[in-house]
Structures are given as structure tokens and as C-alpha cells.
Amino acid sequence: MTSASQAAATAEVTEIDAGARGPVSLLIASGLVWLVVSSALALLQLLQAHSPALLADCPIFTYGRTAAMKETAFLYGWAANAGFAVALWLLARLGGAPLRSTNWSTVGLLFWNFAVLAGIVGIAVGEGNSITFLQAPRAIQPLLLVAAAAIAAPAILAWIDRRQQATFAAQWYAVAALFLFPWLFSAAQMMLLWAPVRGVLQAVSAGWFVQGVWTLWLAPVALAAAYYLVPKITGRVLPAYDFAPYGFWTLIVIGGWTGGRHLIGGPVPAWIPSIAIVSATLLLFHYIIVALNLRGAFGVKSTALRFVAAGLLAYLVGGLVDAVFAFRGLAAITQFTWFTQAQLQLALYGAFSLTLFGAIYFLGTRIAGRAWPSSPLLRAHFAASVLGTVVLVAGLAVAGLTQGNALADASATFEQIAADTRVWLEVAAAGQALLLLGNIVFAYHFIRLALAAVTSPVAPDAVSFRRPPAMEASAS
């Protein structure tokens, strides 16, 4: 190894990465375990929807509990862990200083994952709440909140410690996600679990929370990763970057108002769905700015960026679909159907997970100090994830439209509806099986990377790193 390449390698794998190694790799590892668990449960749920007799005699796998466990494993297991990991690493990198107090993160993530496990077991034995995104038993919810605060503490310190006053778009989104989640989460817990609000206000508050989880927590994490990776990997300044603050504030200010879309026609004040429809349309402004800023992601030969580009496409399509299908004429058909599941999966798997996969591929090399061991595994994961997402979302969407049209026709019985949607649920289950396969491949690949890093700390292939573009910590 020449001294020049060594210099390049040490410049790329900085003490910043080394300092973040412990908590970030633990967060990713636990996230991947939950991802595999949740995709297996998701497959089971689709198979149960297809043939209700499956495992019906087993009380821990009633259809409702399977769905609740899947959701908890995905959201609090995978999405939260991976989101924390990426946000921590990004804020350390962009702040230009190593993370401080990483022990807080490590202890926090142990408690967090214990709470998630306890939550899933709680649902299985019948202590669940049957509230979307708050399925886990009431008793463990405060633990999640405290653990989240502990995990995020070093990231907030990294923001305070940042070397320069000016900040990047990636930082805004990451900080917003970490800062807003505890507020959102604690408010929802109070209103729905500890001092439940009265009557249908519960449904209104739940709608506000569910939308907030997406627009104020998960979407910002994914956008933070995208805003970091696109300029970093392409080596080019983001086009129309001056507009990025408007895109950011549009999402943060307006995103929280779009939660009532699913309450149309229901026993709530009519202005709640109306304001949600208007907000969903206004939010298109945000999507346009994101598209303008990040259009450089498409057509670049880079593994990480290919994932980000796929995620970005899902994000933009999802935003458009949300806005269009918020309108009453269409929403009256898709309400209460598989179509809403398709929208959710497009967001959670398509936009969020694909982007985070890209980020993990990028930061994995920096954290481990070496390249990912196998490019066939990498390609297999990419193919399975993208194809799986497309097939899953398409299957669910067609099933939903079929179901919605049939529900509107009073002469169609539920037996007929089930028969009509069955084939599309099979398609969706095939997509979900692909995703499960891809996720297992990814988890296995991550284990190999981690083992290689643990057994031989000096990277033999550090030469393969690119020299960091000069724009690191200088562009804005």
C-alpha cells in the first residue's frame, strides 16, 4: 500500500467514523434483525388475508395480531433503528467533529430494542392497543420515549458542536426528525393511551400522529440521507439548492395537517378531511423542490446512489398519489381498502427503506473501513428490493381498487370481493416474499462485513475508497 493511498484511506475513514462505529453498527444490526422479522410477518399476514384459515387456531397469530406485530417490528424495530443510525452518522459527519457521549446511544439502543421485543411479545399475548403505530402495550411506550431521547442525545450534541455556523439541508432534515419525534410520540401517547381524548377525537388524534410519523420523522430521515448522498457521490453541487429551505419548511409546516385524509365521510367534523386534502395538494410544492434538488441522483453508476434514486422515485410518486387520491371522488373508493396499504408500503418500503439501504451501503464501508465483501449479494439485494417493492405495491393497489369498486356496489358480497382480490393478494405476497429474500441477503451481507471488520481491523482494500470530494464540509 502506498503512502498516498493510505493517506486517502485515512482521510476517508476519519476519526469521526471510528467514533460513531459502535452505536451506529449496533443500531444497523438490530434494525436488520427486525427488518427480517417484520418482512416474515408481513408475508404471513398477506397469506392469512389470502386464506384466513392459516394459523387461525394459534391465538398469537390472529390476523389482527400478525398485522400489529409486523407494523411494530417494521416501524420501531427497523425504521427507527436504521433512522437513528443514519441520522447519528450524518450529523457527526456534517458537524465535522466526532460524536460525544456515544455511551448514551449505546445504552439507549439496548433499552429501545428490549422495549420493541417486549412490545411484540405483548401484542402476541393480547396486551396490544389496536391503535395504528401505537400497537405495543401501553406500559412499554414510555420506555421507548426515554430510550429514543438517549439515542438521539449525541446527535443533538453533534449539531451543537458543528464546526461551522452554516448548515446543510441534510442536517436540517436529520435534526428535525430527531427533535420532532419525541414531541409527536409523547403527545400521541398522552392523547391515546394515558389520558384518552373523548370519542372520535381519538380517531382524529390518531390520524394526526400516523401522518406525523411519516412526514415529520421517517420522511425527513430518508431526505437527510438523500440530501447528503447525492452531492457527495456525484461530486456536484445540488441544482436549485437555494430553494431547499422552502422545501424543508413546506414539509414541516404543512405535513402535519394531512392526517385527516382517511376520515372522509366519517363521524368527524368535515373540515378535518377538507384541510387534509388541501394540505396534501400544497405539499406537492415540497415534492417539486425535492425533485429539482436531487435530480442528479438518477443515472449515476453507484450502488448507494442507485438505491437512493429508487427511493426518491418512490417518494415522489407516493407524494403525487397521496395528493391525487386524497380527493373525495377517488378517496371514497379507496378508503378502507388495500389501496391505503399500497400507499403505506410505497412510502415505508419504497421511499424510506430503499433510501436507507443506500445510506447503509455508503456508511457501512466508512464504519467498517473496508468495502462490502460481495458485489453479487449487493446486486441481488438491489434487484429483490426494487422488484419486490414494485410487485408488492402494484398487487396491493390493484387489489384495493378492485375491492373499493366492489364495496361501492351493495350487491357484491364479501365472499365475491375476496374471490376477486385473491389473485392480486397472491401477487402482493410474491412481492413480499422477494422483499423477505432481499432483506435476508442484506442482513447476511452486513454480518459478513461486520465479521471481516472485527477479525482484521486493518482494511486490506482501503485503497478502493475514493478520495473525499473537496466539497465535504464546505458546500452549502
Partner: protein, 211 residues
């Protein structure tokens, strides 16, 4: 964005604004809703759940019934809720004020349950037990809510299911609902939204020239 303090303040204000608008706003509108006293009947509507039904709500919740069933009848113009016999009128906020936990639901893999206690023709307990025990092509059976036991050394139970055809039990064996099944069925049969509140008169789709 150089000023960190202003940035955090902005984030917080944005979240607080949406919370205030949506949650406090609807609370201001609906928070004062009170049960309606009917002088003729001498009681107020909606009524509280009887004790068994209140416990049955917990069974409904922990089994995750709301994953496939809604409890809301939408206004005319939104689907075929009325034509399917799910309710004569749309659900209104007042229908729910006595329910500690509201299960409006988000998905209709199965029928709406807002008026399951007021169906025409009416369901009785035996119908619901049988449905839960046997399941259908579109609904799983919940056999773990029932106990199959021998009647050799005890009186046959009053609650024993009368099963016929493929499900029929051999002589000397009976299938009885467990406590949880009874609670769940009590809850389901207590679900009805039949009282006509002033704000709940059935809405007919607007026609040309109508006032």
C-alpha cells in the same frame, strides 16, 4: 439557517401549530358534546356499555378485530354503507362519546360493525358464537375462544353451541364459549347507532332544486 435557536423554535412551532389546529380545533368543536336526554324514554343517549360489553371491548381490541372491521357508517354518497344494511343513518360524533376506546377502523376486509346489535334481521348470541367458532371463507375461525368438553359428568351447558353438518360434535361432547367469547359477543351486540339525534337525521344526496 445559521441561528440554531430560531431553527428549533420553528420546528417546534410547526408541530405545535398542526396539533393545535387539528386536535384542539376539533376538541373545541366536539369536546362539549353531551348525551341527549330523551324525556319520553326517561334516559339519555347514547347509553353506556353494560359491564360485560365494556370488558368485551378489550377482547375486540386485543384480538385486533379492528384490522378488518370498521365501526362507522359513512354519509350517503360515500359507498354503499346504507344499502348494505349497516345503518339507517350516518354515524355522528355523539354516537361514540360514551365509548372509552373508539374503534372507527381503517379497513373493510369484513363488514362494518357499527350497528351489529341492530341488524335486520337481528343477530342473536348463538349466531355470533357460531360465526366466531366456524369462521367463513373470508373470516378466520376463532376456535381458541371455545372449549370442547365432555358432558359425561356434568350438566350440558346452556351456552353450548348447536352445531350441525360438518361441525357437529359427537354425542357426549359439547362446545361452549369461554368467558372471553361471551364478553366479545356481549360487546358486539351492544353496538348500535339507532337513536336519531338532531344532527343525525339521514342525509339524502342533494338533488337539483332542493333546499
Amino acid at each position: 439557517m445559521r441561528n440554531g435557536f430560531l431553527f428549533f423554535l420553528g420546528l417546534f412551532a410547526a408541530l405545535a401549530l398542526s396539533w393545535a389546529g387539528i386536535v384542539l380545533g376539533s376538541n373545541a368543536q366536539l369536546g362539549q358534546l353531551a348525551p341527549l336526554m330523551d324525556e319520553n324514554e326517561g334516559k339519555a343517549f347514547p347509553e353506556r356499555f353494560p359491564g360485560l360489553a365494556a370488558q368485551g371491548e378489550k377482547v375486540y381490541r386485543d384480538l385486533g378485530c379492528a384490522t378488518c372491521h370498521t365501526q362507522q357508517v359513512r354519509r350517503p354518497g360515500f359507498g354503499s354503507d346504507k344499502e348494505r344494511g349497516w345503518g339507517d343513518r350516518q354515524s355522528v360524533a355523539r354516537d361514540y362519546i360514551q365509548q372509552p376506546v373508539v374503534h372507527l377502523g381503517e379497513s373493510r376486509i369484513g363488514p362494518d360493525l357499527a350497528n351489529v346489535g341492530a341488524r335486520k334481521p337481528a343477530y342473536d348470541e348463538a349466531d355470533l358464537y357460531k360465526l366466531l367458532y366456524a369462521g367463513t371463507d373470508t373470516m378466520p375461525s376463532y376456535r381458541f375462544l371455545f372449549q370442547t368438553r365432555s358432558t359425561a359428568d356434568r350438566q350440558p351447558s346452556d351456552y353450548a353451541l348447536r352445531l350441525t353438518g360438518k361441525l357437529a360434535t359427537p354425542a357426549g361432547v359439547e362446545v361452549v364459549p369461554t368467558e372471553r367469547a361471551r364478553l366479545l359477543v356481549a360487546y358486539l351486540l351492544s353496538l348500535h347507532q339507532s337513536y336519531e339525534y338532531p344532527e343525525a337525521r339521514p342525509i339524502e344526496p342533494a338533488k337539483e332544486g332542493d333546499k
